[in-house]
Symmetry: C2
Subunit: 488 residues, 2 copies
């Protein structure tokens, strides 16, 4: 089954929205704003875990949601019973048709705070009604992709497997979490559903219950080796790793697998001191000639513990990471927001702003362009620029970057290439984007992370990447702030 | 739509399981364990946020899942392509029929570590295959119910509204999270889907985009008041609460609502210093005769901030709680596990154990009963006891409690009543439990929390509730530990 076929999730999630989307839309309609064209930006403000960057994920599910948008008669009836919605509005919903333009950064793109990940242009009722699902989808999947990539980087080339379904926050948490993890670098997931529906390789061997059922650990290992001689990984910590699990695994390797011409593929540690146990296991396995038997570890791991284990010289080939990946336990919220940035008035685009006492929280107004500059020589990303939508960045001339808060901080860049990061997804409600398959997204994500300097990838005090405004945009923003200051 | 009709979620989640459930089950079958009857317990080990108790939630969704269990032909094909499953096993899946007995504590029950929340008795293949979904479901919903109840208690009678859909971990995170929140004491949710499908009251008024669209805050408030004169709550922080939002809200109250004989229902604060602003807003509203205008607050709240706001004398009537509730941000994992505790051998129930270097982590073996003792005079819960399944607790005699780890710690209780907490849900695969509706569950949950002493409900160092083993069960557990110690 391909990605596009998976678009057929049988649930209709049209009604999954905050109630105020409906109360507002009903009011927009009754006040004559039905055909008012607006611009919304979806962006986030803070990188989870004090990291240097985040990874955008979830666009495909947003596309699926928009393609399936439909209010059914029972939805209309339900809303009519609220006795606050006009019949005009209920008719509008009954005939709802999405006609907006949507731009987005592709899934797997490296993103930074305050950048429009998704921009929606269209009639305010339509653009408003999709807010909750756009946020829910992008927030969740970007959170897990960002977290997983941290864990993958911590493992320094060792394999990461996603093992968290049982601790996920709901079924979609497990399903779309596994997808985000795979995109961001996990080699597969324990989840069978996501293998069948999305092609994410399913991985797994045995639980403690297998060993407990047989009662005797050797008999349990023997039975497993007989069943799966080509892919035999044994869980060795049900009773005692070094005194029972490893001796029994070696015995099964010699008595069951080797006579068949097979090798013991791996052992798995799921408790205890992983640094000590993995080194002891490696030593014993090597002594017994089982140099090619892999060691898998899987107990409450995350990027910090994996980094620490590696620094202690633990011999672990593969990490199975569960609850701390699938919930992004250290920081389980990706705080994306969806803000009105402009309104078309008499054929002109009028920028809109949301003020805040914290100057960095003031929204970036207007219909914008999002650019990334790359160093010509290395191809590494050096800065992102927000411009007005119709501004161009001329690669042949030096470009002056300046900090949007501390404007005296300036830097001139030369010999760069510039790329617009958003691509068009919907044009007047029609899907015009060819959704890449999951392997393409995964490859693209790897390239994206490779385009970053190492200073951005470290966990402690990563370099602060430039996300600047063009001079024109900066001026518009400041004028708006002044204008509202005068008013109040 | 009633709860039972909602059982018709169109997704088939049968394949949402860890891959090792399938590799193990295939092996059980090929080794002649098809008809072997086993017992699994689902339990958790640690109360989130160092709280005094947790709340069980998610049983209804487990029932729905089990009722819908079915492997489709495309699932069988997918598994055949893995080239490791026997045709016997694929046939078994094709004809899969759930025949287990299932016991569970009802949703809304107060639970403690190491207690069987769910017990499954039946053929090992069936009991094994449901592990992932049982854990995923109960872990997620119990997590959110437990967290919400903390937030509700912190608010000391003020209303809590669930506002977190946009920050939930996936769609089910929003849907079942809203359900768990409502059961545990929230008065409603911003989520429209859960109102329509589950009858959880949807709540909401306006976002900043409403104010931004109109440009002028007074015009925006006026339009909203005209549209919803009976239910007008105004978001007052788009530009400046005290200099713009509140004056405009008062003006609209006097110029639009009062001429219609209506009252301003509320104002909402979504940023800034809630303690200071709420007191100032209250003072100004009262001065203007708007004593009945409610103040709603909704910015990154949780039980700690709410408690702190109340202690500062903040005038807040209702709290809208988002990301920190819907993800249980402070502790986003409910670590439930599903462990084999017994196997039927020659008509006898043979207990099974999983050892650990940490004595408190050793599983409680055997097919058990779970009892709660209540003080006769007050009806307050005093201790829970795990017994063998066929043991009885005689209320007419004193009962000796003793600590399962520090066994010299004893306490005699008299004048108590004893109640078995688990009820039968499935009998030989048939649903024999009448699922309560959501209001019944919510009421029951409130009674459950009321049955606890205050010392258990506090946030700092709550009392450690007794969860003890009967003498018979304790002896069996210790004999098993000794037996395995001798072996290894």
């Amino acid at each position: 089954m391909t990605m596009n076929e998976f678009l057929g999730d049988p649930r209709n999630l049209t009604m999954l929205m905050d109630y105020y989307q409906l109360t507002m839309s009903n009011g927009y309609l009754s006040h004559g704003y039905k055909d008012t064209i607006v611009y919304f930006d979806m962006f986030f403000r803070k990188i989870p875990d004090k990291g240097g960057f985040a990874i955008a994920c979830g666009l495909e599910a947003v596309v699926k949601y928009i393609e399936n948008l439909k209010f059914h008669e029972e939805d209309i009836e339900f809303l009519r019973d609220k006795k606050i919605f006009s019949e005009d509005f209920l008719d509008y919903l009954r005939n709802f048709k999405f006609t907006c333009d949507v731009w987005a950064v592709p899934e797997g793109t490296v993103i930074f705070p305050n950048e429009p990940i998704i921009t929606v242009r269209g009639p305010i009722l339509e653009a408003q009604l999709i807010e909750t699902m756009v946020l829910l989808t992008i927030n969740h999947q970007s959170l897990i992709a960002t977290k997983t990539n941290r864990i993958v980087r911590a493992a320094q080339g060792r394999n990461i497997m996603e093992f968290g379904s049982r601790r996920a926050q709901g079924y979609d948490g497990a399903i779309y979490g596994a997808r985000a993890a795979y995109i961001a670098g996990a080699i597969g997931s324990s989840n069978v559903y996501t293998d069948k529906e999305m092609g994410i390789p399913a991985i797994g061997t045995m639980a403690h219950s297998w060993v407990q059922l047989f009662g005797d650990e050797y008999e349990a290992f023997k039975a497993y080796a007989e069943t799966y001689p080509d892919n035999c990984t044994l869980l060795v910590d049900t009773y005692n790793v070094l005194r029972s699990g490893i001796p029994n695994a070696i015995k099964v390797s010699k008595e069951v697998l080797e006579p068949l011409g097979k090798r013991l593929k791996g052992i798995r540690l799921d408790s205890g001191d992983m640094a000590y146990l993995s080194k002891e296991c490696r030593r014993i396995l090597d002594e017994e000639g089982l140099w090619d038997c892999k060691i898998v570890a899987s107990n409450s791991l995350d990027e910090f513990i994996i980094k620490d284990l590696i620094s202690q010289g633990a011999y672990i080939d593969t990490f199975g990471v569960g609850e701390r990946l699938i919930t992004s336990k250290s920081e389980p919220v990706f705080g994306g927001v969806y803000k009105l940035v402009a309104v078309e008035e008499n054929g002109e685009i009028a920028p809109r702003i949301k003020l805040s006492e914290n100057v960095e929280k003031v929204t970036n107004p207007h219909y914008k362009g999002l650019w990334r500059l790359y160093e010509g020589k290395t191809g590494k990303a050096i800065a992102d620029i927000l411009t007005l939508h119709d501004e161009n960045i001329d690669e042949t001339k030096p470009y002056v970057l300046f900090d949007p808060v501390f404007t005296w901080k300036k830097k001139v860049v030369e010999n760069f290439t510039a790329k617009k990061l958003q691509v068009k997804i919907f044009e007047k409600g029609q899907l015009v984007y060819n959704l890449p398959n999951i392997e393409e997204i995964k490859d693209y994500c790897r390239e994206e992370v490779n385009s970053l300097w190492d200073e951005l990838k470290r966990f402690e005090n990563p370099h602060n990447y430039y996300v600047d405004l063009s001079e024109k945009l900066w001026k518009i923003k400041n004028d708006l702030i002044e204008q509202y200051r005068d008013k109040i």
